[in-house]
C-alpha cells in the first residue's frame, strides 16, 4: 500500500510539473496550448540522446532538456501567439494543435515510429539501486524524480513570488495593458512565461522517459491531456492547485492499478476529474489565482 503511494506520488509529481507549466502559460497569456505534451516528448528524446550519446548522467540530460525546451517554447510562443495577438483565441489554439502534429511527425522522421529504450548497459551506470524501508522497496530513481520535481516547484514558487521577474509576470498576467503602460516589454514577458512553462514540461519528459525507459513519438499525447485536465481541476490559474491536482491524479491512477483495474486507470482518473468538476466547477483552487498577491 505504502509502496503504491510512493509510486503514485512519483507519477503524480510529474503530472504536477506538466500542469504547472500549462497553468503558467495559460495564466499569463490566457492561451490554451495543445503542444504542451509534445514539448514533453521533445524533452524526453533530448534526454534520451544525451544519455545515449554523451554521458549516462541524469542531471546533464535534464539541463540540456531545459535549454532545448525553453527555446522550443519561445518558438511556439512566437508562432502561435506573438503574431496572433489580435486574432480570436481559437486561432492560437488551432496553431498549437498544428505544431503538436508537426512535432510528432518530426519525431517519427528522426527516431522512427517504434518505441526506443536506453540500453541496459547504460542504464546500470545511472545507478538505479533500490533500498528498503519498513519492508517497502523504493528505487533511487524514484527519489531522484521526486527530488527534481520538488526542487523545480520550489524554484518556480520563489521565482514567481519573490523576484522582480515573478512580480512582472504576475502583473502582466493580471492586466497586460496596464503593465505595458508602466513600461514593461510585455512581448518578452509572454515569451519568458512560455519558455519557463515549456521547461517544466521538458523536464517532466526526461523524468518519465527515463523512469519507464520508453520513448516514442506519441508519448506526450496522453500526458498533454492529463496536464490540461490537472490544470483545470486545480483551478486553471492556480499554481498550488496544479500541484495538488497532479498528485491526486497520479495517486488515483496507481491505486486503480493496485486494485486490478490496470487497463481502466486512465478512465478512472478522468472520471474522478469529471466528478470534482461537477461539484466544484471552477476547480479545487478556483478563484485563487496564479496571480494572487503575497505580502512581503
Amino acid at each position: 500500500m505504502f509502496e503504491q503511494l510512493i509510486n503514485g506520488l512519483t507519477q503524480g509529481s510529474v503530472y504536477a510539473l506538466l500542469a504547472l507549466g500549462f497553468t503558467l502559460i495559460f495564466g499569463t497569456l490566457r492561451m490554451v496550448t495543445f503542444a504542451h505534451g509534445e514539448v514533453y516528448m521533445v524533452g524526453a528524446y533530448v534526454g534520451f540522446e544525451i544519455i545515449r550519446l554523451l554521458a549516462p548522467s541524469f542531471m546533464l540530460a535534464i539541463l540540456v532538456a531545459l535549454a532545448a525546451t525553453a527555446l522550443l517554447g519561445v518558438i511556439i510562443e512566437i508562432l502561435s501567439f506573438h503574431f496572433l495577438r489580435d486574432a480570436p483565441h481559437v486561432t492560437s489554439l488551432l496553431v498549437t494543435i498544428g505544431i503538436s502534429i508537426l512535432l510528432i511527425n518530426l519525431a517519427q522522421l528522426i527516431w522512427g515510429p517504434e518505441t526506443k529504450s536506453i540500453p541496459y548497459a547504460l542504464l546500470d551506470q545511472l545507478d538505479y539501486g533500490e533500498f528498503e524501508i519498513w519492508g517497502v522497496y523504493i528505487t533511487y530513481l524514484q527519489i531522484a524524480v521526486l527530488m527534481v520535481t520538488v526542487l523545480l516547484m520550489t524554484a518556480l514558487y520563489l521565482l514567481i513570488n519573490k523576484t522582480k521577474l515573478g512580480m512582472v509576470i504576475r502583473a502582466t498576467a493580471q492586466d497586460y495593458e496596464a503593465a505595458y503602460a508602466m513600461g514593461v516589454n510585455v512581448n518578452v514577458v509572454f515569451s519568458m512565461a512560455f519558455a519557463i512553462g515549456s521547461m517544466l514540461g521538458g523536464v517532466a519528459g526526461v523524468l518519465i522517459g527515463v523512469y519507464y525507459n520508453l520513448f516514442y513519438p506519441t508519448m506526450g499525447q496522453l500526458y498533454g491531456l492529463k496536464a490540461f485536465s490537472a490544470s483545470v481541476v486545480g483551478g486553471l490559474m492556480s499554481l498550488p492547485g496544479s500541484v495538488v491536482a497532479g498528485l491526486l491524479i497520479g495517486v488515483i491512477e496507481t491505486f486503480a492499478v493496485e486494485f486490478g483495474a490496470s487497463s481502466l486507470r486512465h478512465m478512472i482518473s478522468f472520471l474522478f476529474m469529471i466528478l470534482i468538476l461537477l461539484f466544484r466547477p471552477s476547480g479545487l483552487f478556483g478563484g485563487k489565482e496564479l496571480i494572487q498577491a503575497r505580502g512581503d
Binding site: K164, M167, V168, R170, A171, Q174, D175, E177, A178, A179, Y180, A181, M182, G183, V184, N185, E289, I291, Q292, A293, R294, G295, D296
Partner: protein, 236 residues
C-alpha cells in the same frame, strides 16, 4: 515641455483625433475637458504610446516620442494614472508601487520614494500588504496616483482620476494633485469630465469636441466663458 502638433489618430477606420495641438509647460496643471467619447482618452493614449498617431508629432523636452513604446515614454519622464485606475488587482499595494518604478534601476531611490508615498498617502502605508482589489475605489485611486509617482515623473498624465469616487475622495484627489504639483514641481495634464473641479486647480484648459480642440484658454477665462458655462459647467 510637452508639445503635440497636428495629431491625427484613428481607431480602425474611425478618426478619433483631428489636428490636435496642445502644450504643457513646466510646472503647469493643464486640463483637457470634454464630454464622452470626444477623444480625451485617445489623446492620453497617444502621448503614452498606446495609440500610434497617423499624422503629427509629439515632443517631450525636445525629444520625439510619437511612435515610441511606453517604455521609452515613461523613461523620458511621463507617467500615467490610467482610466479606471487599472491597478494590478492581485498584487499587493506595495507591489503595485514597485511596478510603477519598473523602468528605474536605482534601488535606494525606489525605497526612499516608497517611504515618501507612505507619507503622502497614509492609506498606502496602512494597506501596503493587502491585494489592491480589496481596497475601496477611493483608496485605489490613491494607490494609482502613488504608483504613477513611483516613476519619478516630470509630467503626470491623469485620465479621469475623479471618476466613480465619493465627493470626499474627489476632493482628496484634487488636493493631492495640487500638492504634487506645488511641492514637487511635477507638471500635470488632467483629463476630466468634472470641468469645475479641474479648472479650479488648473492654469490652462483645452476643450475637445468630437476629436477636435474647440476652445483653449486660461482656466479663469474658461470658467467665465458663457459657452463653457452652458455646455460643461452646469451654470444655467
Amino acid at each position: 515641455m510637452l508639445e503635440l502638433t497636428d495629431i491625427d489618430a484613428y481607431y480602425g477606420p474611425i478618426q478619433a483625433l483631428k489636428n490636435v495641438s496642445l502644450t504643457v509647460n513646466r510646472g503647469e496643471i493643464v486640463s483637457l475637458l470634454g464630454g464622452n467619447a470626444c477623444g480625451k482618452s485617445t489623446t492620453m493614449k497617444t502621448i503614452l504610446g498606446l495609440v500610434k498617431p497617423r499624422r503629427g508629432r509629439i515632443t517631450f523636452e525636445g525629444q520625439r516620442i510619437d511612435r515610441r513604446p511606453p517604455s521609452v515614454v515613461v523613461k523620458a519622464g511621463i507617467s500615467p494614472v490610467l482610466e479606471a485606475r487599472r491597478l494590478f488587482p492581485y498584487l499587493t499595494v506595495l507591489e503595485n508601487l514597485r511596478m510603477g518604478a519598473y523602468t528605474r534601476r536605482d534601488k535606494k531611490g525606489i525605497e526612499q520614494d516608497i517611504e515618501r508615498m507612505y507619507e503622502l498617502f497614509p492609506v498606502v502605508r496602512e494597506r501596503y500588504r493587502q491585494p489592491a482589489s480589496t481596497l475601496s475605489g477611493g483608496e485605489q485611486q490613491m494607490v494609482a496616483m502613488a504608483r504613477a509617482l513611483m516613476a519619478r515623473p516630470k509630467l503626470l498624465i491623469m485620465d479621469e482620476p475623479s471618476m466613480g469616487l465619493s465627493p470626499l475622495y474627489v476632493e482628496k484627489v484634487f488636493e493631492i494633485i495640487e500638492t504634487v504639483n506645488r511641492k514637487e514641481g511635477v507638471a500635470i495634464l488632467l483629463v476630466e469630465q468634472n470641468a469645475n473641479m479641474a479648472l479650479s486647480i488648473a492654469t490652462r484648459g483645452y476643450v475637445l469636441q468630437t476629436g477636435e480642440i474647440v476652445l483653449k484658454d486660461t482656466a479663469e477665462n474658461l470658467l467665465s466663458n458663457p459657452l463653457m458655462q452652458k455646455a460643461y459647467l452646469g451654470v444655467a
